[in-house]
């Protein structure tokens, strides 16, 4: 399986109903397959951070077996709008 920023973005959008996804390939920073993702998804509403991250982990379970380092930022659409405004 070839994991690319694109493939991650597609999977997150399709399977989690994310409204906005940014995926950065940070492999060069870490010497092995690494990604940094920002996911904006209405399903995060009302969920604590850990639960949000676990949702993403479940969605990307297969890919995470190959990924060495993974950073994620999980926001609700409301938090995302607020962050953009700041």
């Amino acid at each position: 399986m070839s994991i690319t920023a694109e493939s991650l973005r597609n999977k997150l959008t399709a399977e989690m109903g994310a409204v906005h996804v940014e995926v950065e390939d940070t492999t060069t920073d870490h010497c092995s397959t690494s990604f940094k993702v920002l996911i904006v998804c209405p399903q995060f509403e009302g969920k604590p951070l850990l639960q949000r991250h676990r949702m993403v982990n479940t969605c990307l379970a297969e890919e995470l077996k190959e990924i060495h380092a993974f950073e994620q930022k999980t926001l609700t659409p409301e938090q995302w709008e607020k962050q953009k405004a700041d």
Partner: protein, 159 residues
């Protein structure tokens, strides 16, 4: 109930004494080298014991004195900023079984991993966000740990 856990932990420990070697590390943290394979046994009980032994438990790459990874270092630095220096730290680089075992146990794919009072908190991202939004100070308070940043803030307000 807690005293029962401590009792049984003590019994378990004496029973498996030969399987654990404790090596005191200069900076005061104990690094546990597990001689037994995690996969064959109910690792839950062993890891389960480990994460309950101390209020704050972290599994990192390297040691607090010498973290071997940027994310692990972030966890160490954040704890240091809050004045938390009495915590248990386990180096997953020393033990591949621990490294995989803790991922299975918490159902979390990466290291570092942070536990408060035996409960999985998250990795570096989550700890950082908790630090930034003030949740970490609150969680530490629940553990009976007074964050150093609270004093720093008080000093600021006095000025």
């Amino acid at each position: 109930m807690n005293h029962l856990f401590r009792l049984s932990a003590g019994l378990l420990r004496s029973g498996t004494a030969g399987l654990y070697r404790r090596r005191p590390v200069p900076e005061g943290h104990v690094s546990l080298v597990v001689a037994r394979l995690f996969s064959s046994e109910p690792e839950n009980s062993e890891l389960g014991q480990l994460i309950k032994k101390d209020k704050v438990v972290v599994f990192i790459k390297g040691t607090p004195a010498q973290p071997m990874c940027g994310f692990s270092n972030a966890v160490v630095q954040i704890l240091r900023m809050h004045g938390v220096d009495d915590y248990a730290s386990y180096n997953v680089l020393e033990d591949q079984d621990l490294r995989q075992g803790v991922k299975n146990f918490s159902n979390w794919p990466t290291i570092p991993q942070v536990y408060f009072n035996g409960e999985f908190v998250g990795g570096c991202d989550i700890l950082l966000q908790m630090h930034q939004n003030g949740d970490l100070v609150e969680e530490l308070k629940k553990l009976g740990i007074h964050s150093a940043l609270l004093d720093a803030n008080k000093d600021e307000q006095k000025k």
